[in-house]
Amino acid sequence: MSKLFDYRTCPTTGLRVDRAAEKLIKANAVAAVVFLAIGGFFGLTVALTRWPAVHFLPADWFYLALTAHGFDVLLVWIIFFEMAVLYFASAILLNSRLAGPKWAWAGFALMLSGALITNVVVLQGQSSVMFTSYVPMMAEPPFYLGIILFAVGALIGCGVFFGTLVIAKREKTYEGSIPLVTFGALTAAIIAVFTIASGAIILIPTFLWSIGLVGHIDPLVYKTIWWAMGHSSQQINVAAHVAVWYAIAAMVFGAKPLSEKVSRMAFLMYILFLQLASAHHMLVEPGISSEWKIFNTSYAMYLAVLGSMVHGMTVPGSIEAAQRARGLTKGMFEWLRKAPWGNPAFAGMFMSLVFFGFIGGISGVVMGTEQINLIMHNTLYVPGHFHGTVVAGTTLAFMAITYILVPLIFRRELVMKKVARWQPYVFGIGVAGISIFMMGAGTLGVARRHWDMTFADAVLPFDYPSAAYLMMGLNGIFAIMAALGGVMYVVVVVGSVFFGKKLAEDEKPEYPEVPPESAAVSHYGSAETLKIPGTAFLVGIFFVAFVLYYFVNWKYLSEIWPLS
């Protein structure tokens, strides 16, 4: 058996928990939540400024807040949390020790210092260049340096993950193939390596340019490679939150994947093709051929979308199968009606699944259509879409699994269970509103990253339709709701971590409640007998919505000026 390492045995799962891994998971998760709080606060100020009746911040502060918001939540919160997920999915799920904990701490220190440096320099006010920092607009040198340090730290974290896979295999801490959730985490780690390498390729020269050592950075080349980082970093999220969906389905329902083969092939589609969608940002750029645009924007004929659509069926399908095996077989939807909607881990996960598919997923594919992008590029439709994917999808899923991880890893009972119970609904519905109303404003032409939609200071006047003002007001209201949900999350998590009742070494957490293990559940998975009519119905609705929305947007496109 393996070398000795310091571990405890988890009373719930029977797994050995490497204490070094456990500490790292805690540190990364705490850092993640802190930056979520900071970035979320900036996000609220942005939404309140874009609410025309409130118009909260002055212009310079608005652009500063928007830069900080993008960096803190789109990169820092999510990558810190993903580091926690990677360590959990490797060391803990594989029953192994973590490779090189010292390296992992070094990575953590780099990420933390990088995040702090960039935040400080943004707050100083001379680097309001947006998260994308398109050249030739220049930020202060530490802005780029902080992101580079953060990326190097994250790369070390990925190395620790791969090292742990090697150790676990060599020391035979598990039998056969790695668990599906670990495979999903592997997918995220692979995409992360490409993401970080792309970031280094473009940001290191840009940093040198900002201190005067490089003369010129081509804006089109910058944009192409920057998005290999900027968009792929959000694809890390997709892979990670799909892994989290599977994990929650397993931990709450004991659900077994319908088919290991199908789910793993769907992840393989991500590994091979998901990153090509960086081209979504390049569809209306000068001089790049339509061959490149069509091939890349479609993830090579939508093979990565195929992967997502497969997960979209197999995750709820495995829950339905598990519930039916428990006897909830009445009608099409008893399994769903009698699901534990009061358990924030399940509620958050299921809303994440639905919102990611219906709001973020469909809008992303439609907007990523070469020609349709003409009527959406850089409008508020874009942030509307990615709040559907990254916030309603990823952030909500990560929040959901926190409710399981706090008792398991921090060994504390959750405090304020009532608040926890409502949190996913408040946050989820708030974010869904933000996404939908920003997309609505975007279809009416409202620009993203824009301080004043009334153009009061412009020499030449222009007015958006009044419906756009209504959309932005509603966006503000739902942003307040989402912010409230965010505060509830931070309060419950921080409160539990510091003040929750300590669990004894061998004590199983009582909440969120997990159904008793059932032999029936682990044996339903035969292909001939599988019955998931409810899930089939739901994906049918999804498909119809997808097709209709797709062609409606072609119709809109056909009504604009002819262009060639």
Binding site: I271, L272, S289
Partner: protein, 60 residues
């Protein structure tokens, strides 16, 4: 790539046990997947994209 020759040792000592299918072995090999996952977007997105940009003609 330390992992490629591991498939040999995975074969069980029991001769009756079937060999693991190729595709399952591919999916069980994280470093092969890592190479594929980096090579595909590097070639199809970045390199092809940069070639496109360098071929944009210069105006008079």
């Amino acid at each position: 790539m330390p992992d490629n020759n591991n498939t040999g040792e995975e074969q069980s000592p029991d001769p009756d046990r079937e060999q693991i299918p190729l595709m399952q072995r591919v999916l069980d090999n994280p470093f092969l997947l890592l190479v594929l996952g980096i090579a595909m977007p590097t070639v199809l997105y970045i390199i092809w994209g940069i070639i496109e940009i360098t071929q944009i003609p210069i105006a008079d």
